[in-house]
Symmetry: C2
Subunit: 105 residues, 2 copies
Amino acid sequence: MTTDKLEVASVATKANVYFDGKCVSHGIQLADGTKKSVGVILPATLTFNTGAAEIMECVAGACEYKLAGSSEWKKSAAGEKFSVPAHSSFEIRVAEAYHYICHFG
Amino acid sequence: MTTDKLEVASVATKANVYFDGKCVSHGIQLADGTKKSVGVILPATLTFNTGAAEIMECVAGACEYKLAGSSEWKKSAAGEKFSVPAHSSFEIRVAEAYHYICHFG
């Protein structure tokens, strides 16, 4: 099941634009103070570095991802999640568009 | 003064991607049911058609816009708004990035 709508308390109105717009996200904050972001990655192959650990939840579209230290590309589609450790990185390749919620920690 | 953060009730997790990603927005809903969107337009010259009337509020960056029937390009920067009638259109040209809140009606 995909998370089509997220109950939140506030949204940062200025987007985060990465890689010349290949990734665009907006920060959101829940009523309990938890911070997440919602975003989209457009067709590209990109490398992201993590500060905090992240769980990437796909809400539409799909991607393939490869965690640092792994040689295996895995697929993640709508309704699926993958976890990335803190202070690590992952490669992601997207053929159409990958819509996601990024959960931190 | 710019609206950096917007108190909302929910956010649509799937982005709206227009013009091959030159415009990306997320729908939001306030506690009273009002719908808006937050988005960003990347460097481009684009034409948007309106259904409902819209007020475009710039929260970061800037744009130039030209309403249907006008020959004049006007500038809109952070903290400024412009209105577009229902069932109309406007051209927008962006040199860096134009971050906005779109208020409907």
